[in-house]
């Protein structure tokens, strides 16, 4: 850039102006970052304060603390069966993520590596379905979940409704739409010759899928796995409507009930929110790169 400088005087002027605008930019970004972080920081701060102390303070929550402790976390943890809600989340989320990746990689492998005539149609069915608001199908799906018989080991009431398997099924189905689209785009960028060479060597379809294609798409799978975990963990809608038994609900849907239980005490609401947020925030902090890559794989075509 410096090579375009015309005269010495103008260069210093530009440089000063640039430095000034850079400082201004940082000030703007710092203010904005603080505004963004504030609701989260405030939730953490509030969760550490005893409610009794705040109630006595004339300024209420706009005050400096005399004590900060983890009592609210102990109260929340012991008031509701929180470990069970986390367990419920794990029972739904982990199988749903694995199944989604397995199924969508198979579909994507088939439609992107081989020139099926109906490739486009399949992709359209999946992608359009994935974009549909879930509220459009909830009424019939609710009825369907009460009709379809499910044998005992998978379901304790013989149905899909109010069952982990039902929640896993709808998550897997919906997310397969998205992941198929992403993975088929990704697989198209791999070299066709590789598959052809393997076929000429006499490798079967399953061998090619498992030993040629899957190792090459591992980065995309890792990125999608972080994304899927977060989305399914964060689901509120399906868990709210496809579960009746409160004890089976995953953590985010259980929050709704806990919220009314602690409604009068914001410090406990705060502690509960922080507890529910920890898994995805920690995952994001550790796997930030994969997370962002997963999101962008979906939008920017490979």
């Amino acid at each position: 850039m410096s090579s375009f400088a015309m005269a010495g005087q103008r260069t210093t002027g530009n440089r000063n102006r640039r430095r000034l605008s850079r400082v201004g930019l940082h000030i703007f970004l710092i203010v904005l970052a603080f505004i963004f972080a504030w609701p989260m920081l405030y939730a953490i701060y509030t969760s550490l304060r005893p409610y009794g102390e705040i109630a006595l303070n004339p300024n209420g929550f706009f005050s400096t603390p005399a004590t900060l402790n983890l009592n609210n976390y102990f109260n929340v943890w012991t008031a509701g069966p929180l470990p069970m809600f986390y367990w419920n989340t794990a029972v739904v989320t982990i199988p749903a993520v694995l199944l989604t990746l397995w199924i969508s990689s198979m579909v994507a492998f088939t439609i992107s590596r081989f020139s099926w005539r109906f490739n486009l149609l399949v992709l359209m069915i999946f992608t359009a379905g994935n974009l549909l608001p879930p509220q459009v199908i909830i009424l019939p799906l609710y009825k369907l979940y009460n009709i379809i018989p499910v044998p005992a080991p998978l379901s304790d009431n013989g149905r899909l409704y109010d069952q982990f398997v039902g929640l896993i099924l709808i998550h897997t189905t919906f997310q397969t739409g998205f992941c198929t689209f992403v993975l088929s785009n990704y697989m198209k960028t791999l070299s066709k010759e590789l598959v052809e060479a393997a076929m000429i060597d006499g490798a079967g379809v399953m061998t090619i899928y498992r030993q040629v294609v899957m190792p090459l798409v591992t980065p995309a799978l890792a990125a999608l796995a972080t994304l899927l975990f977060t989305w399914i963990y964060n689901d509120f809608f399906w868990a709210l409507l496809l579960f009746k038994t409160g004890d089976k609900r995953p953590i985010t849907a259980a929050l709704n009930n806990l919220g009314s239980e602690f409604g009068s005490d914001p410090t406990q609401i705060a502690a509960m929110s922080v507890l529910a947020a920890i898994p995805t925030v920690v995952l994001y902090m550790i796997l930030q790169r994969w997370f962002v890559r997963g999101l962008t794989l979906g939008s920017a075509k490979g």
């Binding site: 375009f4 989260m40 405030y42 300024n59 198979m106 579909v107 409507l241 985010t252 609401i269």
Partner: protein, 324 residues
């Protein structure tokens, strides 16, 4: 499944070289796939596709059919023509408010939240010390559940204990008995929810747009700089136009998110009293005592028809350019 026949696989026209010029006739269909492989592939696509179509598209069709009936879930079903729609558009008091709120949601996202996300992406795209810290902070709300987002903002908004009211009381702006009820006031609560929803939406758009900006050929910017364009001119006249595909994605994401909006409104007050949305109306008719399935389906069909606009836009713009 017989439709899923593999086309000629090995000699793709481009790589066929001399072979292609020899035969002008359509190449004979042959394949390195044996029968077992073909069956396997058909199952690998067919089974997931069948489940997907059953759970998503068949249910969509059922919603459409039910919207023309008076079904309540238990009694025999009668077709009532357009009765549900007439009732929805004329006498049902929550329909037009819900439509208005969905439109407000969309406009707020399109005019405010999405442009802020794009602005942040543009600002953070250039080499800047600490850029990743800013990015991390702006993005963190995106990984939070909307249910958690609802509770976090409840802590700010609450009429008695909320932070905003505590500050206003401390500075004597409001009196303890006349605090601002951000969630309870039906003329105010949609704005409160929009701020909370935007808090999450902005980071999402920022990351999507940043990825798009990173993929812009740097020589375009250099050329613009040589021609004497400043940064703003370069963005408006050079970068923005070549980002057309990502712009479509951003618009579609924004519209779809606005139509799907449900969680925050439902967490804060069950989507009533000023927070009606098409999505919450559907859920509330479903959970109501009367169980108005036919009527609820009519609302679902309205939501479906509106959603088809961004979906078709997305499919035509994104899938058409696929060289499948």
């Amino acid at each position: 499944m017989s439709e899923l026949e593999p086309q000629a696989l090995a000699p793709a026209p481009a790589s066929a070289g001399a072979g292609a010029s020899v035969s002008t006739k359509r190449p004979r269909h042959y394949s390195l796939l044996n029968r077992r492989d073909k069956t396997l592939l058909a199952i690998m696509v067919g089974v997931p596709l069948a489940i997907f179509v059953t759970l998503i598209w068949a249910m969509t069709l059922v919603s459409i059919v039910w919207s023309f009936t008076d079904w309540n879930g238990t009694d025999p079903m009668h077709f009532v023509g357009l009765d549900n729609y007439t009732q929805l558009f004329t006498t049902y008091p929550f329909f037009w408010p819900a439509v208005a709120h969905n439109v407000m949601w969309l406009l707020f996202f399109i005019c405010i939240a999405t442009p802020i996300g794009i602005l942040l992406a543009v600002l953070l795209d250039r080499p800047l010390r600490g850029s990743w810290i800013y990015q991390s902070i702006f993005f963190t709300p995106v990984v939070l559940s909307l249910a958690v987002v609802g509770f976090i903002w409840e802590l700010q908004y609450n009429a008695q204990d909320g932070f905003i009211n505590s500050v206003l009381m401390a500075f004597n702006v409001v009196k303890p008995n006349s605090t601002i009820d951000f969630i309870g006031d039906p003329s105010l609560n949609i704005w409160a929810v929009l701020v909370a929803a935007s808090w999450r939406h902005i980071g999402y758009i920022m990351v999507l747009y940043l990825a798009g900006l990173k993929s812009v050929d740097p020589s375009l910017r250099e050329a613009a700089a040589i021609d004497g364009a400043n940064e703003r001119q370069t963005f408006i006249h050079v970068v923005f136009p070549v980002m057309a595909p990502i712009n479509v994605v951003i618009v579609v994401v924004t519209v779809i998110e606005s139509l799907r909006a449900f969680d925050i409104a439902y967490i804060l007050n069950q989507g009533i009293n000023g927070l009606e949305l098409l999505s919450t109306l559907i859920v509330n008719t479903m959970l109501s005592e009367a169980s108005l399935i036919g009527f609820g389906s009519a609302i679902a069909v309205v939501l479906l028809v509106v959603s088809l606009v961004p979906i078709v836009l997305y499919l035509t713009r994104v899938l058409r350019s696929e060289d499948i």
